[in-house]
Symmetry: C2
Subunit: 395 residues, 2 copies
């Protein structure tokens, strides 16, 4: 039996592909003289983090304070939390800022002022800029608001104004590679314009940009100081479809047991659903949904996607695959089929761990506990087994 230790849906990781993706992006950043601060929210793994360390990376990006603590406990000491600062976690931010160089994102004077009051340890502050994505941040062309906020931060005790930061997530909506580069160029120009409007008062202002499609495909980074891509470490079908990566660059595949066949509609049922892959989907021009690409598995990894096959429907634990009769005939109940995920960040978040091709495992940050203990209150109604999910203990 192939991979007998794989009994339930399992996220396979090809370390060789993953390390190649890391090296390639690191070399690109170096060749352009950029600070490479990769986003670790894609993999959330100390073991994969160690491969970045091997490649010379010393500064990282995460998406939550808990994730920052997870990596700080593993020895990372220069971390940006790339999410609008959550004032409810001021205590945790303060404790972390006392241990490492910590960066946070701010987009309002009110939040900056509160932060300055709540913290004792100094933090780096980045102003979140909206370059057109329309999710969060100050609009790049709102020079008045930008100037006012920069002054508040520069004057606030304990806050160190580092620069302007954008996600540039609109490259994720690009139609193809050329469109990605165009959108990235527009983002870069908008960030330069925003920084220029501050340069007189804040000459050392830096520019940080972040998306995998732009950082992978663009060649002109002039004016940019730092890049923060994350997804490139694994890539996925979404990036493949946009021409951002090749199929041989995808570093993860979900191994799923085959549990049933419905030959009359050219379908089979996998043990592998929304709780494993996430519900992220691609929709083609005719409206057909695609939740992942089936690949044959072998002991050494996986082969190219089966022609014309896809995951066409998904419930909580079921995945329905449509595939050709000749591919079906090679499979029985109890066999495994691999699925290249549509969005690897969300699949990794669902699976919370990896199995490498050598049979060893890699960790994944477990997330915040269900609730902080409420120490002021006795809890007689909760028996001992009712514990929330625990974070992994520090190494």
């Amino acid at each position: 039996m192939l991979l007998p230790d794989v009994r339930t849906p399992t996220l396979l990781l090809d370390a060789a592909i993953c390390r190649r993706n890391i090296t390639r992006m690191q070399e690109k950043a170096a060749s352009h003289g950029l600070v490479f601060r990769p986003h670790f929210k894609t993999h959330q793994s100390r073991r994969i983090g160690s491969w970045f360390r091997d490649a010379g990376v010393t500064a990282i990006t995460v998406s939550s304070v808990g994730m920052a603590r997870y990596f700080a406990d593993d020895g990372w000491d220069d971390i940006t939390v790339a999410f609008p600062v959550n004032l409810r976690e001021a205590e945790e931010i303060d404790a972390l800022a006392a241990r490492i160089r910590l960066g946070v994102l701010v987009e309002s004077a009110a939040a900056a002022e509160r932060l300055s009051v709540l913290l004792h340890a100094p933090v780096d502050v980045w102003i979140k800029i909206d370059t057109g994505y329309g999710r969060s941040g100050i609009s790049f062309d709102d020079a008045d608001r930008l100037g006012a906020l920069a002054r508040v931060i520069a004057d606030a005790p304990g806050l160190r104004l580092r620069g302007l930061l954008t996600h540039g997530g609109d490259t994720y909506q690009a139609a193809d590679a050329a469109d990605v580069v165009q959108r990235f160029t527009r983002t870069r120009r908008r960030m330069l314009a925003a920084a220029d409007s501050l340069r007189d008062d804040h000459p050392r202002i830096q520019i940080s940009v972040g998306d995998t499609p732009g950082c992978t495909l663009a060649d002109d980074f002039s004016g940019i100081d730092e890049i923060r891509p994350g997804n490139f470490v694994f890539f996925d079908v979404m990036q493949l479809r946009r021409g951002v990566c090749r199929v041989e660059d995808i570093a993860v595949a979900l191994a799923c047991p085959v549990v049933a066949f419905h030959d009359e509609r050219s379908e089979l049922v996998l043990y592998g659903g929304a709780v494993h892959l996430s519900r992220e989907q691609l929709v083609d021009a005719r409206g057909a949904q695609n939740f992942g690409l089936p690949v044959p598995l072998s002991a050494g990894g996986w082969a190219r996607p089966l022609t014309g096959a896809s995951v066409v429907r998904l419930s909580q634990e079921h995945g329905i695959v449509q595939l050709a009769a000749e591919d079906r005939s090679a499979l029985s109940e109890g066999d495994l089929l691999g699925i290249l995920p549509v969005h690897s960040c969300l699949t990794a978040e669902c699976m919370k761990g990896y199995r490498l091709l050598d049979g060893t495992v890699a960790d994944h940050y477990a997330g915040a506990p269900a609730a902080s203990p409420a120490p002021s209150r006795s809890t007689p109604s909760a028996p001992a087994d009712h514990t929330p999910r625990q974070e992994e203990s520090p190494s």
Copy 2:
């Protein structure tokens, strides 16, 4: 500060609502003379399970072998795994079947024969029937295949043919309450027809049906032996929209810190995204997406949804809420806003734990580990901290 222990997105659970939902369904099952075998995949919690026990429930449904073990370790001894049997877990199934009364689902003779060979302990076997949902199971009107499979199971050593089981998930696609009842009635008739075709050879064949919309709204259960609804324990916005529940029946709300405002587009940004709520969405007639309904929080729970407000976009950790200016004016950065989830099963699966209104927590099954250990292989490349997610230890 309201709920100061809530610092990151936290799933609040109103135990009073939840217990009322449990009691109501239990009483309905009893009044119709039905076996009530609730699906525990919605809550996946031993503590919430104890509330079912308080209501007299003794038999349950789960969606994976690991989840069955989680509840068996808590004293549940009559469990059906309502998922097409995964032959890769034969060893785990066998171990569990030796301890408790275990039911599995089969839909092919090949799987039944393999199962009979692989298991030593006897198991209950249900034939999965497709009553029109088109996901998995034997079509209700395929009497030949059904009869052949029933014979194989009845003759296979160690397999006890219990009956026919369907999910009836097409009620989740119903437009309104009347449509739900119509679809449930069709499912019931189709199950009766399928059972009738087997009755001569298998007189004790039972019928088990499963969906929350049908079990909540239907009044005619004649011919049915057992119901397995799950979602009703929490309900959610999807059920509210279909007229299956009232807003005051929804037992969970995600408490999210407010992190930014964009008044120019009547939006605010929440710390609370796809990794917390799941990407499940409702789409209205004009194509607008809705990922949840904002509710004001108080120490005692939550109020009714804010008129006209909804979660309009979702990224990995960000939720974008559109709401009226008067509701916005009551909020500042660092405040909390509650979100009633679109699909509570998936939100609970994302959050992996609950905070009750009294400040105590309830557990949630942690899921299968990233990979089984590969004992035949030394793992020198994996340092000690690279452990997969661990299951909670048995009580």
